[in-house]
Amino acid sequence: MKRRTFVGAMGALVFTRTSGKAGASPAAAGAVQGLLVPMDERQTNHLKAYGMTFRSLKRGGRGEWLLNYRGGSFLLSGDATVRREAALDGVLVEEIGASRELDLRGAIASSNMDAIPLEKAPKVAVYAPPTAAPWDDAVTMALEYAGIDYDKIWDPEVLAGRLPDYEWLHLHHEDFTGQFSKFYLTSSAAPWLREMVQLHTRTARTLGFEDPAALKQAVARAIRRYVDSGGFLFAMCTATETLELALAAEGVDIAAQYSDGSPMDPDAEDRLQWGRSLAFRDARLEPSPAIASFSDIDGHQVNHPSRRQQLGAFTLFNFSAKIDPVPSMLVQCHREVIPDFYGLTTSFLRDRLKPGVTVLAEETGAPWVKYIHGEFGHGTWTFLGGHDPEDPQHQIGDPATDLSLYPNSPGYRLILNNVLFPAAKKRELKT
C-alpha cells in the first residue's frame, strides 16, 4: 500500500512561534511561546478544541498536530484570539515556553509520536439535501458545535462540477441506490418520507434523469471522480455502503420497483462490477424491498430482525505516527475503546473489504470492522459506520443530540479528526 508522508519532526523543529509580535525572535528558554492544547483526559472540551484549531488556521495562524502526544494534542501560536476563544469555549490550553517545548520535542522524537504541521484550514462541503437540518447528521452537528464553517451542497451542485471547489467532502446519510433508505414500504404514510420522495423525484427530473436511482448513480460517479483527482471524502452510516453499491451497479438495476418503476434485475448481484468501487467487493444484495438493509456489507443489519447483531465496543488501532501519519491522525483519541453505535449501516464485514483497505478500528473477535480508510487515485476516502456516536440506538424521530452535553465524546472526535487531517501539510508521496 502506498504511504503518504508528511513533513515531520525535523521540519517542526525549525518552526518558531511568536508571542504577540510577528517576526519576533524565538523567546528565551522558559518564556511563553505558544499554546499547547492537550487532548488527553485532562482536556475539558475536546470537540471545541478542533474548532479552535481550525479557526486559527483559517485566520492564517500556524499549528502542529502532535500525534500520539497526550491524546493527539495541538500546538498553536498563542495569539490573543486563540486565548479568548479557549476561554469562551472552555478549552483547556497550557502556555508553553521554549524549554518545555524542547522537552516536548525530545519526547516526540524518541517515541511513537510525530509533529505534523497544519498549514491551511480545508474548505469543507457537506453533501445534504437542502431541507436537511444540521441536527440530522452527526458530522454537521459536530461542525456546528465546534464552530467549523462548511457549505451545504447537493445533487445540482455536484453535477454542476462544484466538488473541486472543496478539499473535504462529507456525505450526509444519503441512500445512493435511490431507494429512500428503503423506508418506502414500511413508512409510506410518514410525512418526512413523502417529502423526501417528492424532493428526490423532482430533483431527478429537473436534472434530466428518469428517477432518483439514475440520478444517484451519476452523483456517485462524480464523487468518485472527485476523490480520484485528489479530494478527501468522509462518509458515515448508509452513505458508505450505498455509495459503493451505486458505483458497482453502474448500468445495473439494483433499485426496487417502487423507486424506479422496474423490479431489481434478478441477475444484479452477478452483474455488479466491484472494480469501480472504492472499498468493498463481492457484496450480496438484500432483495426484499421491505427490509431497510442494502447488502451484507453491514455486519450489524439493524433493520433485519433475524440478522440483527448486538452492539459491542470497537478498538482503535495504534499506528506508527512517523511511518503512517494519515491513519495515525484519523485515530487520535483520548480513548482506545469506544462503545459502538447503530446506523442503517453500522459496520463493515471484513470479508467484503478490498485488499489494501486500512482498518482503523474494529470490534475484537467480530467478523466486522467499524472504521476504514483508503486511497483512490490522488485522493483518499474514510468510512465510519453508524449514525450518531452519542445516540447508539438512534431511531427516526429521536431528539437531536445536544453536543454541549458530550464535549469529550471520543466518537465525535473521530469525525473531527477527519475534518482536520486535510489541513496537514503534504509532501511528496513515497511508496
Binding site: L88, D89, E144, T186, A190, I291, R307, P399, S404
Partner: protein, 572 residues
C-alpha cells in the same frame, strides 16, 4: 419467549456425561479460543450427533470465526440420528434460514410439517421468517395453511405478529382481536406488538378493536390508549366493556389501575382514581375501603380535591380508619386542601387525624399548612402550626416566616440552622440564595423587604417586584442594592415580563459591577435576552461574563447558553 429461546433454556438443563466434555469446550469459548472450542464441539458431536447443546455451541463458535457454512453436515447428521426430536427440527430450520435461501428453508419446513403433522411450530417459524424478510403475503399463506391443519387458536397470534412486523396495522389489530378472544392472557403480548404503531395508525387500530363484538378487543384497546398517553379515553372504553362477572371485572380493574400507574401525569392519575372507585363499588368490607383510599390518593395526585374528598368521606363513614394506608391518604388529602387554599379545613382535619398520621407525614403536612397560611397572609397562624416543632425542616419554614415579617437577623439564623440538606434541591437552592442575599444586606430588620417577598409568596409577583425596586433604591449599592435588583429582575423574568427584567438586571449590574452577584445577574440578563429573541445581545453578555469571571460557578451554564445563542446546538 420465542421457541428458539425455550430451546436454549431446555438445552442448558440437560445433564449428561456430555456436559462434562462440553464444559471443556465452554471453557475454551469463554477464553476466546473460538477455533479450539469449535474443534472440541465437533469432536464431541462425533460421539453424540443429536446432542442439541453441543450443536448450539458449535453454531456459536462458527458464527464467531465466520465459518457457518461448515455447520450443515452436523445439522443433517443430528436430524438423521434423532428424527423424532422436534427441537432438532427447529434448530435445522433456523440454521438453514441463516445459511441458505428461501427454497432450502421451505424444504426444511415442509419436512418438519410431515414429521410432526399436528404441530403448529413449523408454520409459526416459517411464517415469522418470511414476515421478517418482508414477504408478508407468503407468511400469511403459510399461517392460513397452518390454521386449516392445526386450528385457529394456535396460530392467530403469529398471524397478527406477522402483520405488525410488516406495518399492516389494521390487519394486525384484527388478528390480535381474534387471538385475545381465544386466550385473554395474550393481551399483554398484543399490547407489546401494537404499541409500536405510528401515531397516524392508532385511531384506526382502536376502531378495529372496538368494532369487535368480543370485549377482549376493547380491553386491549384500553391498554393501548393508556400506553399512548390517552388514559382518560382508555378508562371510558374499559368502563363500557366491563363484564358482568365480578371476578373478571375486578381483575381487569386492578390490571388497568396498575397499568396507568406507570404514567405520572394528572390524567393518568385521574384514570387510576376512576378505576379504583369502580373497584370499591365491586369489593366489600376492608377491600372496598382500601380501594377507596387508593382512589382518593389517585385523585389527590391528579389535583382533584372534590373527588378525593368524596372518596375519603366514604372511608371515614365506613370504618374507624386506623389503617396506615388510610392515614397516608388523609395526609395527602390535607396537603391538597392546604395547597388549594382551604387551609382552615385542612388544619381541622389535621388536628382530627394527627395521632394517626406518621411523624414524617405529619411534618410534611404541617409545612404544607404553614405555607397555606403564608399564602393567605396569616403569618401568625403559620407560626402557630409549627410551634413546638424543632425539626430542621420547620427551622427553614420559620426562617421564611421571619423574613416575611422583616426580621432578617432571625431569618439568617434559622436558615443557617436548617442547613443545606432538608427539602428538595430547588427549595434548598432558593434558601441558600436568599441567605447569601441577607448576608449582603446586613440589616437586622427591614419590614419593607419582608412585605415585598410576602407579596411574591402570595402570588402577586408584579406588586412584589415593584416593592423590591423601592427597597433596593434605599440600600447602598454594594450593601444589597445590586442583589435585590437582581432578585427582582429574575422574578420579573419568571413572569415573562422581559422589558422589566432587562431593566432591573441592568440596574443590578450598574449598582455593583464587580460584586459577587454580578456574574449571576449577567447570566440572568443573557437568559432574558435569549428569551426575548435578542441573541446578539445575549452573546455579548455571555462572552463578557465568561471572560470577566472565569472562576464563577455560572460559567458552565453560561457556556451552554452561549452555544445555544450561537445556534451551535439544537434547541431543546
Amino acid at each position: 419467549m420465542s421457541g428458539r429461546e425455550l430451546l436454549a433454556v431446555g438445552c442448558w438443563i440437560v445433564t449428561s456425561v456430555t456436559a462434562v466434555h462440553a464444559q471443556e469446550a465452554l471453557q475454551l469459548e469463554r477464553a476466546g479460543r473460538f477455533d479450539a472450542a469449535a474443534r472440541a464441539y465437533r469432536a464431541e458431536l462425533r460421539n453424540e450427533p443429536a446432542n442439541l447443546s453441543l450443536l448450539m455451541g458449535l453454531e456459536r463458535m462458527l458464527q464467531r470465526v465466520g465459518r457457518m457454512d461448515s455447520l450443515r453436515p452436523y445439522v443433517r447428521r443430528a436430524v438423521e440420528a434423532d428424527p423424532g426430536s422436534e427441537a432438532l427440527r427447529e434448530f435445522e430450520f433456523h440454521a438453514t434460514a441463516a445459511l441458505d435461501g428461501a427454497d432450502s428453508v421451505a424444504a426444511v419446513a415442509a419436512r418438519w410439517m410431515v414429521a410432526f403433522p399436528r404441530s403448529a411450530s413449523p408454520y409459526r417459524e416459517w411464517a415469522l421468517w418470511l414476515a421478517r424478510r418482508g414477504d408478508t403475503g407468503a407468511a400469511q399463506a403459510v399461517l392460513a395453511t397452518g390454521r386449516t391443519r392445526t386450528g385457529d387458536a394456535a396460530l392467530a397470534q403469529y398471524s397478527a405478529q406477522a402483520f405488525a412486523l410488516s406495518g399492516q396495522w389494521r390487519e394486525a389489530a384484527q388478528g390480535w382481536g381474534v387471538a385475545v378472544a381465544e386466550d385473554r392472557s395474550l393481551v399483554s403480548v398484543a399490547v407489546g406488538s401494537l404499541r409500536r404503531a405510528p401515531e397516524e395508525q392508532r385511531n384506526a387500530i382502536v376502531g378495529v378493536l372496538v368494532a369487535d363484538a368480543e370485549s377482549a378487543g376493547r380491553w386491549l384497546a384500553a391498554d393501548l390508549l393508556a400506553d399512548w398517553g390517552r388514559p382518560e379515553q382508555a378508562w371510558t372504553l374499559l368502563d363500557s366493556a366491563l363484564p358482568a362477572d365480578v371476578g373478571v371485572a375486578i381483575a381487569l380493574l386492578r390490571h388497568f389501575a396498575d397499568h396507568v400507574a406507570r404514567v405520572r401525569t394528572p390524567a393518568a392519575a385521574r384514570a387510576r382514581g376512576y378505576a379504583y372507585e369502580r373497584l370499591a363499588a365491586l369489593e366489600t368490607g376492608p377491600a372496598a375501603d382500601r380501594a377507596r383510599v387508593a382512589a382518593a390518593r389517585a385523585f389527590a395526585d391528579a389535583g382533584d380535591v372534590v373527588a378525593a374528598r368524596r372518596l375519603l368521606s366514604q372511608v371515614g363513614i365506613d370504618t374507624s380508619s386506623m389503617s396506615p394506608p388510610t392515614a397516608a391518604a388523609m395526609a395527602t388529602f390535607i396537603q391538597l386542601l392546604a395547597d388549594a387554599g382551604q387551609v382552615a379545613e385542612a388544619e381541622e382535619r389535621y388536628r382530627a387525624w394527627q395521632s394517626r398520621i406518621t411523624p414524617s407525614d405529619g411534618a410534611v403536612v404541617r409545612e404544607a399548612l404553614a405555607w397555606g397560611w403564608v399564602r393567605r397572609g396569616e403569618l401568625g397562624r403559620a407560626e402557630q402550626v409549627l410551634v413546638g416543632d424543632s425539626t430542621v425542616g420547620t427551622q427553614a419554614v420559620m426562617g421564611w416566616v421571619a423574613l416575611y415579617r422583616g426580621a432578617l437577623g432571625e431569618a439568617r439564623a434559622r436558615f443557617r440552622a436548617a442547613g443545606p440538606y432538608v427539602h428538595a434541591r430547588e427549595e434548598v437552592t432558593r434558601r441558600s440564595g436568599m441567605l447569601v442575599l441577607l448576608e449582603r444586606i446586613r440589616a437586622e430588620r427591614l419590614p419593607q423587604f419582608g412585605e415585598a417577598l410576602l407579596a411574591v409568596a402570595r402570588g402577586d409577583t408584579t406588586d412584589g417586584v415593584g416593592q423590591l425596586r423601592v427597597v433596593a433604591d434605599a440600600l447602598p449599592p454594594q450593601g444589597g442594592r445590586a442583589d435585590v435588583l437582581g432578585l427582582a429582575g429574575e422574578l420579573a423574568a419568571r413572569q415573562s415580563d422581559f422589558p422589566a427584567a432587562e431593566s432591573l438586571l441592568l440596574a443590578a449590574l450598574a449598582a455593583d459591577p464587580e460584586g459577587p452577584g454580578a456574574p449571576g445577574a449577567e447570566y440572568a440578563l443573557a437568559k432574558v435576552l435569549v428569551a426575548s429573541g435578542s441573541n446578539a445581545g445575549a452573546i455579548r453578555r455571555l462572552e463578557h461574563l465568561i471572560l470577566s469571571y472565569p472562576e464563577s460557578a455560572v460559567v458552565p451554564q453560561a457556556r451552554r447558553l452561549l452555544d445555544r445563542a450561537r445556534g451551535m446546538v439544537p434547541k431543546s
